[in-house]
Symmetry: C2
Subunit: 404 residues, 2 copies
């Protein structure tokens, strides 16, 4: 490795877990396809120094991989074209490193299959693009080894990254064909964590579409304990840190834990093969789908998500059975806002009152919802992820788009 002062490098499995080492050689069933593995339920011991609300349940998120034959590894590396040194330009991904060689910027066009019926990018697309740019940032550092990466110091200390929190704020959804610049960078988070932020902007207008931030902590991949950040690791990654926050006024409130007395409860949700990511776990996008599918259709037709905060507790495998619980915050009903936002400049009250869908829009809905996804483990439930999200009424312009 030409440059040992490189980016803190992690495997970014759908924003959640988790492996940063190169191939592990220990355990794991000797090469079988572990689609239905339940290793993530293994018991863990937690280091006292960093005991937080998340650490009890981060046990065993990693499945244990097997070293591939060298010839296979070599062919794959060639096809993936993974750089062994830091790059400042990635022509195929239309990316470059800016701002003193540490901030990553990629240009993407919103594709036809990344938009929903209203022809704006879906929240899933936004989450996917955040994941993609974070990984590509690491790719350009020259440290990414087939998707799993860690600094030299992390490997020496058997450490991996786990994400504990994610906050995505959507100011506006980009439309089909829109050209976006996505920036991402890392910074310090407390004494032992790292944050990763994103800013998604329209290339022509410079308008901000999405702001996002996430928090990462280190875990020993053998003991499954959360770990302090060793000095040698701090020395490696801190040169990449930028002290800038994509979301200025970041909420620090903890998300309350729901129970089955909540308003909406969807039980017996089962992951499908297509919901699994490279880590053989259910991906983050599916979590958000399960959360949103707990909400009434009529609400979702008239509102779009403007902000979501996720607190991760535990991975979910393909054999798990999931329950999605949701509680509206009744204090967030704002009837006045609803009416004025729907009217817009070009619609008269007569049109609104005579119009089926606009009349329906006058129904008053809460705009804030708290979520819990949990899985059934033996006789009890274990938390996967908590969430809280805010919605805004779809404006008149978007309604026109949706009705075409």
């Amino acid at each position: 490795m030409a440059n040992s002062t490189t980016l803190s490098c992690f495997y970014y499995s759908k924003l959640l877990a988790v492996r940063c080492s190169a191939y592990e050689k220990d355990g794991g069933g000797g090469g079988g396809v572990r689609v239905n593995g339940t290793a993530h339920r293994a018991p863990m011991q937690v280091g006292a120094a960093l005991e937080t609300s998340i650490n009890r349940s981060l046990a065993g998120l990693m499945s244990a991989p097997v070293l591939p034959p060298p010839a296979v590894e070599s062919r794959r590396s060639q096809r993936q074209n993974i750089p062994r040194e830091k790059q400042t330009v990635d022509p195929f991904r239309q990316a470059l490193i800016v701002e003193g060689g540490v901030r990553y910027r990629q240009t993407v066009v919103v594709r036809s299959y990344e938009v929903g019926p209203d022809r704006t990018a879906t929240l899933e697309t936004v989450l996917n693009l955040l994941q993609e740019t974070a990984l590509n940032h690491v790719w350009m550092s020259g440290l990414l080894g087939d998707g799993f990466g860690a600094t030299h110091g992390m490997i020496r200390n058997n450490l991996i990254w786990v994400v504990s929190r994610m906050h995505v704020q959507v100011d506006q959804y980009p439309i089909w064909g829109e050209v976006l610049d996505i920036d991402t960078w890392v910074g310090s988070s407390g004494k032992n964590g790292m944050r990763r932020d994103w800013l998604v902007r329209g290339r022509s207008s410079g308008a901000i579409f999405v702001r996002a931030t996430s928090t990462w902590v280190m875990m020993n991949k053998n003991t499954r304990r959360l770990s302090k950040m060793p000095e040698e690791v701090r020395d490696e990654i801190s040169p990449w840190f930028i002290d800038r926050h994509a979301i200025e006024e970041e909420s620090t409130d903890k998300i309350i834990k729901l129970d089955t007395n909540a308003t909406y409860v969807d039980s017996d949700l089962k992951p499908k093969r297509s919901d699994l990511d490279m880590n053989h776990h259910v991906n983050n996008v599916k979590y958000v789908r399960w959360m949103l599918e707990a909400l009434p259709d009529q609400f979702l037709q008239q509102h779009q998500l403007s902000s979501i905060i996720l607190e991760y507790r535990k991975e979910c495998g393909s054999s798990d059975v999931v329950q999605s619980i949701c509680q509206p915050d009744e204090d967030t009903i704002l009837p006045g806002d609803n009416v004025s936002m729907v009217m817009g400049p070009s619609l008269s009250p007569e049109i609104i009152s005579g119009h089926h869908s606009l009349a329906g829009a006058l129904q008053q809905w809460p705009t804030k919802y708290t979520h819990l996804l949990q899985l059934k483990a033996n006789a009890k439930y274990e938390e996967i992820v908590r969430g809280v999200e805010a919605h805004v009424k779809i404006a008149a312009e978007s309604t026109w788009i949706a009705s075409e």
Copy 2:
């Protein structure tokens, strides 16, 4: 329009439907969100000249859009950056027109969220990229008006395109990070149809990953009858035709119609909001998921799809209830092939017999499956799409990848 001899232009809704006109002004509920509309079940009359097995059920695939306010339309066009004249280079999509100005080529990198647990691109990703490049081909023609496009002659004749058949052949699945060149072009198909073909290749090796072809016919958007291709339309689109087939030996066998006596029957499948595309219909990728989900997990873990043919009959809306029927072709069990393919050069018989997943791989499965998706309309079922697909055993190299 600077160049009236332009590409036959169509709205390529997830490979299926359907609209090519600019905004229609007639009907459609005056701007409401038509998520749960059932317009696709409207009765149709079929033109005798082109009566085929598909035309009875292609009725009313189009929802009726509403003209947006000019200011909204203008802002959107600016953000989408839709060219009004033919372009030969699209820098943001990394595309260019080659081969005499008619064949489209786009370079893409397989993204982290486009691969499955085995870290190769999923079939869904392949289908998405075919759709995307077809639409971008039309985009570069300068004729794409906000996603709906037709030649001037088609608009004058109230004609739209509908797809009747699709054949995708996957020689090899690209892996995460692989750089692909995707070519697509159009050609004639019989007297009144058009074909669109694709070729997906690795940029560095030139190896072919995917070959695909599709057949399109014209429909009058008012009468919902299939239509002959008017001479003026032929004059417009034929300069874009290339007489080259991505799949040399194209099967012309019709796919048999299954009934509920078939081996696998999944009933009561319900589309979710996230399954809908810009046309407010269930997208093509979801069709294929429903088909594959009818197959046993154990089979899918050990095989990957190498070829799929789809014959489209009817669109599916968000309120439809779908049945997925599947019949294995027992004549396609090839036990000898299974064993030799799994062994590979580096695995001894001892390893195979001692290995759980490889031992399981010796189970004999048919490799060819026939499918039918149908929806319940009143008391009877109506066909959405028929399919037939072939699978190959996952080779040893892929097994290693999957087990990491």
